[in-house]
Amino acid sequence: MKNPYVPYPVRITEIITETEDRNLKTFKLEFLNPEDEGKFAYMPGQFAELSIAGKGEIPIGIASAPTEKGYLVFTVNKVGLVTSHLHNMKPGEIMGVRGPLGNSYPWDRMEGKNVVIIAGGFAFTTLRSSIVYMLEPRNREKFKDITVVYGARTPGMLLYKDTLAAWEQRDDINMHITVDATNDPTWKYNVGFVPAITEQKAPSAENALALVCGPPIMIKFTQPVLSKLGFTPEQIIMSLENRMKCGIGICGRCNIGTEFVCKDGPVFTLEQLNRLPKEY
């Protein structure tokens, strides 16, 4: 009988400080036992429990893509006991990863469609995974236009800056990077809130799905913009967060009505969420 509470041991191989407030770090992890990588088969949108002996576990979206072999990437905001400890860890140290957990973005539905990605702040992790996955040469033709609106408070608060810059150079993805405000005279992208930039760039709802991740305030003001553009609630895909422990639908705390965010989610359509309590 497989014990679903035992994490795979991993080694931290690289730590990148992502943001100017130094509150977000990206951790690159390698499996100690190479055969575990095969067992950890995931799709973008899934998450895992990062496990630190003596501290506990935290559910974090997987930021690497299944097309990136040999390692996993997680970007972690420093907020509590486990994340603070993790932020003080060093490359070479050992920790655990338990997963992959939850559903993923609806990849079956996304094939053959235009994909619109709207993200704010540090909720860009599983969307990075999705973009890397879609841009992989053998996957790219499965999807039509890819449009990305990604915003942060300032240029220094954007995640994965090098990757974003590389995507800006490509012609098979429409990038619209934005910041709320900046004093930087060399800033060459957009300035404005994510909902406003979405309205301005007006991605078509025709044969499209929108993946929307961000802080509640961004989501609140982006929804009416998407409705105006013609996106129905079935076309709007969101990923939720709730406090979790087991991550496998057993410990009972992350439910919104009938659904466990950990096991039935974290990805839901807006149509599903409209029929469920807003307890997230």
Binding site: M1, K2, N3, P4, Y5, V6, P7, P9, L32, S51, I52, A53, G54, K55, G56, E57, I58, V79, G80, T83, E93, I94, M95, G96, E241, N242, R243, K245, C246, I248, G249, I250, C251, G252, R253, C254, N255, I256, G257, T258, K263, R275, L276, P277, K278, E279, Y280
Partner: protein, 351 residues
Amino acid sequence: MAAKVVSKDRLNSVLSHWRKNYRVYAPVQKDRFVQFEEWEDRGEPVWEFQNSRLSPKFLMEPQSEILLEFSLDPRTEDSGILKERERVYPLQIVVGIRPCDAKAVELSKRNFVSQEYTDSYWVRRYETTVFVGLGCNRPCPTCFCTSVGCGPFHEEGLDVLMIDLGDRFLFRSLTGKGRDILAEMDGETPSADDEKLALQIREEGERHIVSRVSWDRIPSQDLMTLFDAGFWEDVAFSCINCGTCTFLCPTCWCFDIQDESKGVRGIRMRNWDSCMFPLFTLHGSGHNPRAEKFQRVRQRFMHKLKYYVDKYGDGVACVGCGRCVQFCPVNIDIREVAEKMNNYVRCECKV
């Protein structure tokens, strides 16, 4: 199906015999309450009681349980690696479990075993346990088991059903596990009179369930309409969020997972938790989706009587044991809440 009759004065020797191969848990008097404890061949278990205060759910999910262990010693190769502790799950018999509590174990199985995941700790205990239930000749006034698909002699989840015939017990096996323990048990074959008496006692017990709850309309009620109903604030008004209902409830299984270490050795354990506590859902950011008391009270009742019903289509997540009714310090009554939910009609009048 096999059956045997054992006189009450020989029951301890039956238990002693079981102890050779099993750990035996039986109801014993503990101060003012009855509770299930390992019977160590001393003293008399209690056979005339209404129900134990705590349900024997802790035999499947202990209140505190070690899941994993680890070393933090940097000199060891496995430092920081979480491992399952080698553990033997001894065969155990829980004798005297009430039919409602046995049904609750069956119901909890749906939580601990899904298509995707098996909670190996819970399942190993479940598989190594024999459930010898005791029918209820005299149910409590707060029992409403017959309204929720259970009953004082309900057999679901039991391997053996015991019926108190006065000076003797009738044991009837219901599963292979039950047949095995009956096979090696001293006792007489029940006479036709014994069977007749058992039937009478059963009918008499069922007649004693006076409390009825209707939930027939809840499955067709709209989830969000019930969620947004105005009565939740009233239901929660007197609640002090003590969590007694959740700890006593045989179908409450929620738990927390915590790490503890001392020196270079540590454990990861799980402990019973409760949806009544604000920490249960508190996000790292400080945001809490169920910050208000009424939201937590609503979650408990909606989970048992609506979410579970909608998700699995197999009735309510309540077995009608009445513990939460008896022990709630502010007299919140699940029977009244179920009625409110069942009869709820959203007011369509224009304000």
